[in-house]
């Protein structure tokens, strides 16, 4: 696949990239915020911190979505974001334990 012309340039793949960015990106940003919520300053029970955490999701999520279009293909976006999710959620579970 490496030497075919299809993969040498960025493919549009609008639908697959957008779907990956919206759903896997949201999942990833919630996971990242989750790590901050548990192990960041104040811990999980700090009053009002939940509002701050909720606000944090959208910038992270939308930045991930914005840069999803840099992936060469939609498939690659799916694979990369899924792997990132697995890593982040493993950390989240470790932090919570």
């Amino acid at each position: 696949m490496e030497n075919s012309t299809r993969t040498s340039r960025i493919q549009p793949d609008w639908w697959s990239k957008s779907i990956a960015g919206i759903f896997l990106g949201l999942l990833l940003s919630v996971g990242l915020v989750g790590i901050f919520a548990w192990s960041g300053p104040g811990g999980i029970a700090a009053p009002v911190k939940v509002q701050f955490n909720m606000w944090l999701i959208s910038p992270i999520w939308l930045l991930i979505l914005s840069f999803t279009y840099m992936f060469k293909t939609g498939l690659r976006a799916f694979i990369c974001l899924s792997s990132a999710n697995i890593v982040i959620y493993l950390i989240l579970f470790a932090v919570r334990a």
Binding site: I10, V30, G42, N53
Partner: protein, 547 residues
Amino acid sequence: MKIKSDILRQYQSVHIWTGIISGIVLFIGFYAGSLTMFKPAINAWAAPPSDTLSSINTAQFDSLIKQASMQYEEVKKGFNIFLNQKEHSPMTWYEKGSARELSLNDQLWHASLDEKNQLIAHKTNPSALAELIDQLHQTAGIAGKIGHEYLGVYILGIAAILYFLALISGVIFLLPSLAKTFFALRKNKSSSRFWLDAHNLVGITSLPFHLVISLSVVVFAFHDPLYGSLKLAVYQEQPLFPAQKHTKITYDISQLQPVSSLINQAQNFAPSHQVIDMTFMNLNNPRAMLRLGMYDKGGLMRGPITDYIYMNPYNLKITNSSLDPSDEGIWTRAVATFFALHFGSFGGDMGRWVYFLLGLGGAFLFYSGNLLWLEKRRKKFKKDNLLPTQTRACHLMASATIGICFGSVAAVSITMLAGKWLYPWVENINSIYLPVYYLIFLSLVAYAFIQGAAKSAIAIFKICAIATLAIPLTSIIAVLMPSLGLWSANSISTLGVDLVALAFGLCFIYGVIKMKKRALYGPIDSIWSLSSHIKKEVSFSCTEKIQ
């Protein structure tokens, strides 16, 4: 800065598509949002000055509350107090409705004291105009509800996601040429160049504002699902919001702490702030609560106008606030910043004016973006000398841009105007606002699609100009002919409404002149050209000249 060309092409597509899908609703959101910077002024402008009773000294409030609560049963539940605010009566309470929910049939009592310290009170239908403009800002005028939220709020939430994508992608594909063309406003090259330069300049200079607005709109629209996802994935058995503890004691309004000690308590808690209004709620049950609006002239405030302190008005205990100065309050203060950055409630009046202009700049961004989209798809003269027909998509998009964006602008102006002129003739002025707005808006949208963009643009801009200029004119007529039952500006803020309308009106006149010029003397192979009936002949002679 060098970026690979295929990345640039990707982001150009992202920018174009996200922009064209979300631009029109965002235009309405931004234009109406700019106006909401001055909500109290608009409400004061829309209500006859006789509605508002004169203010009293802080020391007189206890007597006012006592007299009002003895005569009016509703007061025992709750009421509002305004300290030295010209736009408000010193004391108000709702007989029907509440300040929290938008309703067109609210009945509000105003109360004050006369020279002999005796209660004076009367009932009004408070103007819902500013609240409706706010609603237009939040929903773009899209009616309907899903659950407890307006459909339009969700649509603007989705538009805000697209808008964030448009901002990031716009910056990415602008980066390579940014250093060269940032401050360039090439007026002489071509009109589309000028629009492009202006679009880029406004977009880049107000980028932080736009990032903040887009992100906060996403939160405003989708906070429930976002909290839901946090609960599901992060908090799980941890409660998101710990339950508030309430006392079980029921007090009576006669046990209320004196207003001066309530103010003192708040002032001690927030020395840099000033109490400007107090809302007493649930006074006759255990959930009794006082919300104090705390204004800080140069500071940053969480609410649209003020910070808040929540207090039990019977025992002076502060239960909550948006300006908690303790170490634990860091999250409260951080979240307050996000709100303030959307509401423009920092930096005092100066901050409001800057936000007002930034909001208008945003509306310009979406309008100019659509113009550029149309220009890019314009079919130009080819070698065969025949006048090319523009695509259907271009015609529809041009009509939608003109009809929806400026149809809404015209409808807002006419609604404001109708609110004044029809006031003596209808029982409740709030009942006319929505019918007038939608009648004008929908007719102008229909007109734009039927007549085409070129013709309707001039007509709709004319309507915008006339209606908007009629707003200050009404004030002048009110002074000259008092028998009509109109009223004129009576304070700096209401005069401000008239002056802004005057400035807008002049801009619309300028727009009409430019549009006429473009329609008659601009390139005839353009969607904006009005020389269509003579196009065939002209195209011949014109192309001859070109050759």
